[in-house]
Symmetry: C2
Subunit: 351 residues, 2 copies
């Protein structure tokens, strides 16, 4: 005998991203703000002037990627249990990508899933982590290896928080903006070439266009079965660089910046972009003091490290290769010979 | 500025439940069988004669509800990481409800979600846990408080496994079958009154009807916002009984059996079912040696314990009250006076 469980259904996961000064918000339910020590010191008062709730608690975690782990997730969950949060309660992620990912993951598993909203405080989390619904934590095997797809109910991007953001972190966020432009939108790339991000309206415009671009991609492919993989442009190389430098030397966006330069080198070798286009990308990254070069000490080891990347399945490695500016090719057919020849351009002898 | 993230989409989560001898299955991918020591000793050879895969590993957990915790989840996840499972790999839950819930939860968070199938080996997990997509684990705050909704890709219910099932466990599963009949299907209830479960075809028929009933309910309300709550018939009282007896004296299905008798008492008081109907349910439960009585030592304490149930929000408690046989009322408006008067019928003085 066979019974079919007909779960075909339409879910409305839509949500709005507001890019503006944070409005006053009142929630008639229990709300937990999840933040870290740094953001709390700088901005918790600002937030609390704008957010009120039937019952409001704050969970403050230590700041840093090294705390993106099971222990921090349990701290969040335990605070919710202690305060008897129920299925209608709400979490607010108030911080950068680490806080956003962990808050989203905790929300996805607390009593099988409760709502959360994001108030990202770094440029990187505003343009990247705020769209896509990826949540998770790190463990001893690697980054973001445990997690869930769980969409926020709303995202509030307030440029005010960027005023206290260190320049290096600003650059790391800018790298992801460049990524979005190179892979999907030539017009946006040209806008960035002329833009002065110190001007708030220009900054808002850039954030909005980056968010819109990512939103279009994610809407087409929420669970990363196809085109969404293009958002990993620069990441296949970047992850190896982060691994080799033990996540200490570079911020994620900085490693991605170098990774994009490497992917462009691959694209040049395949005749997919011109040398002028590769130079234009490099020049844009340098405008925000992003690193664009890297010395590979052991080319074979760098190559082997591709296969440790969780986004690869079996022995295929997926590369995101720009095709001109504003278009992209996703390929897992790059030969070892081709890749080694690209990596050799970054080898010590050519460094 | 505001950007809408248009994630409205149709997901096809449909899957088939096969109720028959397990067919031979080959998977061209990495597969992990998650089981416990008891089921492994009894039935792993039987399973391995029927399941082959590109690469097959077995993760054996200790048997028992007390191991439904973070440590066991981590054991599963770590085995997957050690064996380099990827997003296309598959988990097979091979055991009762505890194994099913934990395997489903591990599958839901491993690399943000991979597939799993269920091969339930107890009557309870065959008729109940195999339909609905609820996954999770216990923690110090209570049962199933951390988890996810994650649907299996397929369920195989093989009555063969029931041959080794102790009679008490068979009864506990039967209680959930009775639950489905009383709340949704009078015809099914009458079938059960006449049925002899020792006959395999009758057993298959009963399992199939229970699964179909639950499937219809879950399809209407996958995330338990409405009618699905009716499946908690007997559970509001049952949970308190399980808590009071520290999960030691009764199996879950046994506590639910008593809980249904209590819910029927409530229904009688409200004039929703007749005394004859209440007696008929009790008689059916006794046919499989299920407990139908319970001495409440402290009525106020029993009443207060309703509010510890996670399915309650704020100060409302939801009761599932049969309306005749085959229909149900979901109410969070039962007065304290009414409830106390029902509980008094189970008080020591009346015991």
């Amino acid at each position: 005998m066979q019974v079919n469980i007909p779960l075909k259904k339409t879910i409305d996961n839509s949500y709005d991203i507001t890019i503006d000064s944070l409005p006053k918000l009142h929630f008639d339910k229990k709300v937990a703000i999840i933040t870290n020590t740094t953001v709390s010191d700088l901005h918790l008062d600002y937030l609390k002037e704008r957010i009120t709730a039937k019952e409001l608690i704050v969970v403050t975690l230590p700041d840093g990627e090294q705390y993106k782990n099971q222990e921090s997730i349990n701290k969040i969950l335990n605070a919710l249990f202690e305060n008897r949060f129920n299925r209608k309660s709400l979490l607010i992620a108030f911080g950068g990508g680490v806080i956003g990912d962990m808050t989203g993951f905790a929300a996805s598993i607390y009593q099988r899933g409760i709502d959360f909203i994001q108030i990202p405080t770094t440029l990187l989390s505003q343009v990247d982590a705020s769209v896509g619904g990826k949540t998770g934590m790190n463990n001893e095997y690697g980054k973001n290896l445990v997690g869930a797809f769980h969409q926020p109910k709303a995202v509030y991007i307030d440029p005010y928080f960027l005023k206290t953001l260190p320049l290096r972190e600003f650059g790391a966020g800018f790298a992801e903006i460049v990524k979005m432009a190179v892979t999907f939108n030539k017009d946006f790339f040209e806008f960035l070439q002329d833009a002065d991000m110190r001007d708030e309206q220009t900054l808002i415009e850039a954030i909005t266009r980056a968010v819109k671009t990512k939103a279009e991609v994610v809407a087409k492919d929420e669970k990363e079965h196809g085109i969404r993989a293009a958002l990993n442009y620069g990441h296949t190389f970047g992850h190896v660089i982060e691994n080799e430098t033990k996540y200490e030397k570079y911020l994620h966006g900085e490693a991605v910046a170098i990774g994009m330069v490497m992917a462009n080198e691959l694209a040049c070798s395949m005749g997919l972009i011109s040398n002028d286009e590769a130079v234009a990308v490099k020049f844009l990254l340098e405008k925000y003091s992003l690193p664009v070069d890297y010395e590979i000490k052991d080319i074979q080891k760098f190559y082997d490290a591709f296969f440790l990347d969780k986004k690869s399945s079996d022995s295929k490695i997926t590369f995101i290769i720009p095709k001109g500016i504003g278009d992209v090719v996703i390929s897992d057919e790059c030969s070892k010979e081709l890749l080694i020849s690209v990596l050799e351009k970054f080898g010590v002898d050519n460094g």
